[in-house]
Symmetry: C2
Subunit: 382 residues, 2 copies
């Protein structure tokens, strides 16, 4: 099934580029370089161009966009916005600092102008950039272009929301199928569950799972993220089993966690009940206008009352990245307020080396009308 068979609206890249160019105007930045490469992924490149793989992207004050992909043939297939110029990386020395100099020349950047490089540029590389590009004012900021574009991506546009609704529909179909197959005995092992997701996500037109599926039977569910991600160990036996997965549709991933509960002992029952209570509570709280930290703090308190501590965050934005904004950190310096357009997970979980783990995670969309729980993950009692 192709993208088109799914009736997804075409993505409009130009308004996103305009948003970025306007921001550059307001900041007085002449050239921004983004890099999407192994170990230095930046999905803002895909968000702005449609290019899904390794590439540099240059955005200039004179409202030009130059994509320098590793694989020019692949880029020509994925990038259709005429405003975006494409040049092969081989012509740019295959080194970011050389590419910046060449791009600055091509795009007409005057000496002395401000050029912003990614916020994750390593300190030693930053010194190299400054040395190589002595004619320019090289800027590398934590709260600069990289962070700002990620902030733009937090508020999903209509096309992205349409993708999320469809991705959630596929995810929910998979949840039902997995529940049925576990109950019928067709899914017996962690691998049975994970491979079903590999197959079915693609059959429904997705690029694949959104990330490596985590399937942990009763002896491994104590870990937040099981290692290895799945094995041929039994799944959904007596005790607590966890299945954490997503599907990636047109670049955007869902992220849900199911817990399977069978023949629980009283300690396990208490763990599950507490996670369910936390889930209901955070879901009720996570409404437009609410500070994200308030939601985090409320759940931290709820668990603390029962002498429990959750070893991970309560939730996170999702999008082209598995982990986007907002964050729900229970700290006062967490400045995120929940707003329409956000798509995020809520995922309370508790883990015990002896009893196993329980996590319940769904994806929530906020709209001007309020809250929409996109996915239908749940505790499945067997």
């Amino acid at each position: 099934m192709s993208h088109n068979d799914l009736n997804l609206p075409p993505v409009k890249y130009l308004p996103r580029l305009e948003q970025v160019w306007d921001w550059m105007d307001s900041e007085g930045i002449s050239l921004v370089m983004l890099e999407d490469a192994s170990g230095r992924r930046d999905q803002s490149v895909r968000w702005l161009t449609g290019q899904p793989g390794d590439a540099l992207l240059f955005l200039s004050f004179n409202r030009r966009a130059l994509l320098v992909p590793w694989d020019i043939n692949l880029a020509r297939q994925f990038v259709n916005e005429p405003a975006i110029e494409i040049a092969p990386y081989t012509e740019y020395g295959r080194l970011p600092k050389k590419a910046v100099a060449a791009a600055a020349k091509r795009l007409g950047i005057a000496n002395g102008s401000k050029i912003e490089i990614p916020s994750i540029t390593p300190y030693p590389s930053f010194l190299d950039f400054v040395g190589e590009l002595a004619d320019f004012d090289i800027i590398c900021r934590e709260k600069g272009a990289s962070a700002e574009f990620k902030r733009f991506r937090t508020y999903k546009d209509d096309e992205e929301i349409a993708i999320y609704r469809k991705a959630a529909e596929i995810t929910n179909g998979l949840i039902d199928l997995i529940e049925a197959d576990v109950k019928s005995g067709k899914i017996k092992t962690e691998a049975d569950a994970a491979l079903l997701i590999e197959t079915e996500s693609r059959r429904h037109g997705c690029e694949g799972p959104g990330f490596g599926t985590l399937a942990a039977g009763v002896h491994r569910s104590f870990a937040i993220h099981a290692f290895p991600q799945y094995t041929f160990a039994p799944f959904a036996g007596p005790g607590l089993s966890i299945l954490d997965f997503g599907v990636r549709l047109a670049g955007y991933t869902t992220d849900v966690t199911l817990t399977f509960a069978r023949s629980l002992n009283p300690q396990q029952e208490r763990l599950v009940a507490l996670v369910e209570r936390a889930y209901e509570k955070c879901l009720a709280l996570a409404q437009p206008g609410v500070p994200a930290s308030d939601v985090g703090i409320a759940i931290e308190k709820l668990f603390a009352k029962e002498k429990k501590k959750m070893p991970h965050g309560l939730g996170h934005g999702v999008g082209l990245d598995e982990h986007e904004y907002p964050v729900f950190r229970a700290e006062k310096d967490n400045e995120w307020t929940l707003e329409p357009g956000m798509v995020f997970t809520l995922e309370p979980g508790l883990y015990d080396p002896a009893e196993g783990g329980c996590r319940l995670e769904n994806d929530i969309l906020l709209t001007p009308a309020g809250q929409e729980v996109l996915t239908k993950s749940r505790i499945i009692r067997l």
Copy 2:
């Protein structure tokens, strides 16, 4: 099948730690921090401790090692070397710069001492570290601890070589199985091939594939790395199809590429013949004592004579990372010389938007006795 069923020798972490502590002595560094986290992976943490997931690792001048894992329960299962102390990340503020201060205190690091942080520390974070740890001399170097430990990992020890021989055996079994299944018609789609690798790698005791399998049928093989990685499109039809995969055994990945060739036209035949000639040539050259750049330059010349250009590197070391040292860059500043203990790929490839792509990739081990081609990947003519 578990690690033990495979008769792999137990890994000895202490000699690796000793090697690192000796280097710290020689450099006058009091504390080294390594970080393995999402977006900032560093397999040296696993190489030194056995911990496969998110963690900080502190190594001190007084020959102590402190592991600060995200998931303490998981770490207790994987880390068995008694010399390694383990403390939960939650006690260290869940922020690297706070953890460094706490670790320095616990490990008895005197004010004014040199503390080295990862070479990939972003410039803005570097400034934060310096501000937060004003009592110490914070060091962040491109050619410092991170690079040096990666260099140590280039020369595999006996346990690692035993793992590689076994991983190659599993890979070779898979290559034969895939060839048979393509010929019998059991593998019809890209997904059939990729899912077989998902399943069979785990059945043979591996953690899974070494990386996302790339299976590209004739309409997608023009790309160096197909996107998405595999689909339900037909595989191994008339033309050129590529299958790039590895299996991850006890952390170490193999990395091979098969090309399937069916009913080729003359242009495609020339492409394949040229890749095969390049492969034979680089294999003959890649012997102990040879500068890696010489191998790269020879293949660049061979292709240039035929007016072709390879759009990626000729090969790379493999190990806990999919891409390790040495590199085969055809540049004079490539300082690597091939030496015993190295395990690397050789992978000449050519790609044409109209005719498709061809790549042949195997894993080579160098020993004092010479060259050992571990894997048996090949051009498979149908």
